[in-house]
């Protein structure tokens, strides 16, 4: 049944039976990125997608457009400015008081309407809570294909979108096409794609689009918004330095050793999934397939075996350092530097050594 799908052997047959794109889709053109904004802040995944979208648009020889939804005001204009700086040629904007905060109904109506009017061939969204909630509705209304959580996007020789994503818990990758429908929709997780260079002062066109939305017609009401306390706001996905611990730490108390090292390094800390399941660490700290994808400059993993579900979340790191007592642990297959030693004894020493090394008065550093 449905779970039989991704198990097809390599080179499944249907794709080779590709028919010509139906007439009604032929005028679909250009690559779009939904620019996700909440409370005036553009989600960084939108910039990552604009970076990927730029490459796709250039390969196809078409334009890259951002789509910005929000309440009338400065936020929308700012989001457009950012989108231009990250590669958009133009932005479609829909401004309406109803769009001040995210709700599925008005957002999916607005996005569907602008897609139907301006007909993109590719539409990309972030695989965030908002993006996933929205993408499924829009794809169902348009009756088109949607490939979720992509890690790689490309266009092939006949200009179709080739969307690659992990499947079966990350043990395999599969490349998915939406052959006979438009737009071809895909979502990508934050940090799965690299952040492009910001080009200050780069400009583009703003194309306002009007959608008739009234608060009275919307059934779901927002009673209040409870912001996370600062301590809850982890910046794990976007941190430059991440230290994480796994079951090798053996007790919740020992996890403090990871936090100590993180604090000396000015890093964020994370963990493998069993620690979340045991209730030692909160779920927003989990790294991997069902947690966060990270892309730090350096990732230090202590007592983590490196299971595939963990691996897929950390592979974007520039430098992976593993501390594990088992020299055959799978983490050494993808880490760059390893040390086979007891993390519980080693972490305090490492923390101390880094503290000395990084302190502004460090002799070591002046000498080095």
């Amino acid at each position: 049944m449905s779970d039989a799908k991704p198990a097809a052997p390599a080179g499944g047959s249907r794709a080779t039976m590709k028919k010509e794109l139906p007439e009604r889709f032929r005028n679909h053109k250009h690559v779009w990125v939904f620019v996700e904004m909440e409370r005036g802040v553009v989600h960084p995944v939108s910039f990552e997608l604009l970076g990927e979208g730029r490459k796709l648009a250039d390969k196809l020889g078409v334009e890259l457009a951002g789509v910005v939804l929000g309440a009338p005001g400065a936020d929308v204009a700012n989001a457009c400015k950012e989108a231009f700086a990250y590669g958009a040629d133009l932005c479609y904007t829909i401004e309406n008081p109803v769009l001040a905060d995210y709700r599925n109904d008005p957002y999916s109506k607005a996005l569907t309407a602008v897609v139907e009017a301006h007909k993109p061939e590719i539409l990309l969204l972030g695989a965030t809570t908002l993006g996933r909630d929205l993408a499924g509705s829009v794809a169902t209304t348009l009756l088109t294909g949607l490939t979720a959580d992509c890690t790689e996007l490309n266009v092939d020789d006949d200009k179709s979108l080739a969307a690659t994503r992990p499947t079966f818990g990350g043990s395999l990758l599969c490349t998915i096409y939406t052959l006979n429908f438009r737009p071809q929709m895909a979502t990508a997780r934050p940090r799965a794609m690299a952040m492009p260079e910001r080009q200050e002062g780069r400009e583009g066109r703003i194309v306002p689009f009007a959608v008739d939305l009234r608060e009275d017609d919307i059934i779901t009401k927002i009673l209040s918004f409870i912001p996370d306390r600062d301590s809850n706001k982890t910046n794990l996905a976007f941190a430059d330095v991440v230290v994480a611990g796994g079951m090798g730490l053996q007790s919740p108390e020992n996890f403090q050793l990871v936090k100590n090292l993180a604090s000396v390094l000015g890093a964020e800390y994370g963990c493998s999934r069993p620690l979340v399941q045991k209730g030692w660490i909160s779920s927003d700290r989990q790294i991997g397939q069902t947690g966060k994808t990270i892309r730090p400059k350096i990732y230090i993993a202590a007592g983590i075996s490196g299971a595939i579900q963990h691996r897929v979340g950390v592979e974007g790191a520039d430098l992976i350092v593993a501390i594990n007592t088992d020299k055959n642990a799978p983490i050494y297959d993808f880490a760059h530097i390893g040390i086979v030693t007891d993390a519980i004894r080693f972490l305090p020493a490492l923390t101390e050594a880094f503290r000395k090394r990084l302190s502004p008065h460090s002799k070591d550093r002046l000498a080095g």
Binding site: A4, L130, T141, Y177, L265, L319
Partner: protein
């Protein structure tokens, strides 16, 4: 009230192995489980049934053996189970899956009583798309609230539900009208163990089994491979990294090992030191 929980039987992916030569999944002997995220939705449905009264129906689309998962859900406490099974459903992507499940949900509403809330899991661990729930909501015109961290109130008489939804940087407190489609966040509740009498009842319970036709689906071209706009063209194993990790030799003491590791790091990535100094001074 009538709550319907969509559950999916999935392979326990912790135990999936990939054939090293053919790159296909070796399914033989891989145990199946109820998609773990669906259990939080099942628990929430059972809780509200216990609180406000009514029934919980579980629904799955899958091969005949998916009946095992339904029976498991009955042992946890569901009142009724519906299996949607037909060869026409083979190869369904999310759009085709939500089409078939929507038809079955309509039929469930007609046969067993109007549905107040359709619960789905946040996502599956094999498909992992989080799209089937929104697809169902759109097709059945249900209010859609995903990533719910808690339901505060279900008001059957007023036909409303008040709940908390996780969003970027905070929680939205929302009120909406029934019928609604809700997906629960993991950890939003603690899934119960079934009671003995539920287990006894489940063992004997009849599982309502419908084909596409019996579920009221006339146009089977909307189902399965034919009804799926997405096509899996290639399945492959991630390419292994060429070299293994460079091992740092363990010194006489942890302190010596630490020095050696730091040296190795700075040698491999010279720019890291400057980055770290900058970050460390900021804490």
């Amino acid at each position: 009230m009538h709550f319907v929980v969509c559950i999916k039987q999935v392979p326990d992916s912790a135990q999936i192995r990939v054939h090293p030569v053919t790159n296909t999944i070796m399914r033989q002997g891989v145990p199946t489980i109820i998609n773990p995220y669906d259990l939080f939705s099942l628990e929430e449905a059972l809780r509200w049934r216990d609180k406000v009264g009514g029934e919980v129906t579980v629904l799955t689309m899958g091969p005949p053996m998916a009946a095992d998962s339904l029976r498991k859900a009955l042992t946890i406490g569901a009142d009724r189970a519906v299996l949607l099974t037909d060869r026409f459903f083979a190869g369904s992507d999310t759009l085709a899956t939500s089409f078939a499940l929507s038809a079955a949900l309509k039929k469930i509403g007609d046969t067993f009583g109007k549905i107040d809330i359709v619960f789905c899991g946040k996502q599956t661990i094999d498909g992992d798309t989080a799209q089937v729930g929104p697809g169902i909501a759109k097709r059945l015109n249900l209010e859609q609230i995903t990533y719910v961290s808690g339901i505060n109130e279900v008001d059957g008489e007023g036909g409303t539900v008040t709940l908390e939804r996780r969003s970027e940087g905070g929680v939205q407190v929302l009120k909406t009208n029934l019928p609604a489609m809700i997906t629960m966040l993991e950890g939003s509740n603690v899934v119960r163990r079934g009671r003995i009498d539920d287990a006894l009842r489940a063992a004997r319970a009849e599982i309502v089994t419908w084909s596409a036709k019996e579920a009221g689906i006339e146009d089977v071209t909307m189902c399965g491979l034919r009804g799926s706009p997405t096509v899996v063209k290639k399945v492959f194993a991630p390419s292994p990294r060429a070299e293994k990790a460079a091992q740092v030799e363990v010194g006489a003491s942890p302190a010596e090992s630490a020095e050696a590791l730091i040296e190795a790091i700075f040698k491999k990535a010279p720019k890291i030191e400057a980055d770290l100094v900058k970050l460390a001074s900021g804490y």
